[in-house]
């Protein structure tokens, strides 16, 4: 019996396939950016269906929101038409198909979706659920895992992102200063 949620999964995956083919076929880059926004929205919906709400959040914010704007800003510089239409080549297609086949093959070993006996539900998750409230004192288990059990990990991630942000700001600030100096001269 096909459940309604399975049907939703199927429909969304089908949308993704159609959108991906459209993106690959389309030669107008502006249209590609718009359709990519659509793609991000659909994959965010798919992540929500799969209960990965935090991933869905990120996908919607970064994929559909910021990347669309950044891509448009890039198009301002490079123009909206692909200059040399690439010829269809067999080798890249073959590489992608083989890699995809390997990835699908890899999923065969994984536990079934939602399986309570999966290793991820047996390792430390029961402990988090049972004692994290007493040990950390935060009602939200995800927060206590991120901010306390994996505190150093989170700190490391934050440092990486902060460093990247500072580096980008330094590079862009430099460019702005040069432009101002040229404007004065």
């Amino acid at each position: 019996m096909l459940e309604m949620t399975d049907l939703v999964d199927l429909a969304l995956l089908l949308f993704l396939a159609v959108l991906a083919i459209t993106i690959a076929k389309q030669r107008n880059l502006f249209v590609v950016v718009i359709v990519m926004g659509f793609y991000s929205l659909v994959s965010a919906a798919l992540f929500t269906v799969l209960d990965a709400v935090d991933v869905a959040f990120t996908e919607a914010a970064v994929g559909a929101g910021i990347s669309t704007v950044i891509m448009l800003a890039t198009l301002l510089m490079v123009g909206t038409e692909e200059k040399t239409p690439s010829q269809p080549r067999i080798l890249p297609l073959l590489a992608v198909v083989v890699t995809g086949a390997f990835l699908v093959f890899g999923t065969l070993d994984m536990p079934h979706y939602g399986d309570p006996q999966a290793p991820i539900h047996q390792h430390v998750a029961p402990r988090y659920i049972e004692v994290s409230g007493d040990e950390i004192g935060v009602p939200n288990i995800v927060t206590s895992v991120l901010a306390s059990y994996r505190g150093y990990d989170t700190l490391g991630e934050t440092v990486v992102i902060f460093t990247a942000g500072v580096a980008v700001l330094m590079l862009m600030g430099q460019a702005l200063r040069f432009r101002q100096r040229d404007g004065d001269a």
């Binding site: 309604m4 949620t5 939703v8 659509f38 929500t48 559909a64 929101g65």
Partner: protein, 91 residues
């Protein structure tokens, strides 16, 4: 009941998808994507009630904002060919 609603949302998403993929003008595509964004919001909302856990409604709210901003950015790009220029900033 929710299943019927979900089916209806999916059908409208297919229609929006068709408009976004087929075009023919850019405005058709923008309309299609904007429509799809709204339908995604509805899909997440209906899905919450379909599975009996309407906890993700605030996620749908965030999508509303993002969809709006994204559409705004695209339209501004078409109108001005620029993203950051002020209205009174005639160069």
């Amino acid at each position: 009941m929710f299943a019927a609603t979900m089916a209806a949302v999916l059908v409208t998403m297919i229609l929006a998808l068709g408009r976004a993929v087929l075009g023919p003008t850019t405005y058709d595509r923008i309309l299609g994507v904007n429509m799809a964004g709204t339908k995604t919001v509805l899909l997440i909302a209906v899905l919450g009630f379909l599975t009996g856990r309407p906890d993700f409604l605030d996620l749908a709210l965030i999508y509303v904002f993002l969809n709006f901003i994204g559409t705004l950015a695209v339209l501004k790009f078409i109108e001005h060919g620029d993203l950051a220029r002020n209205a009174g900033d005639g160069e």
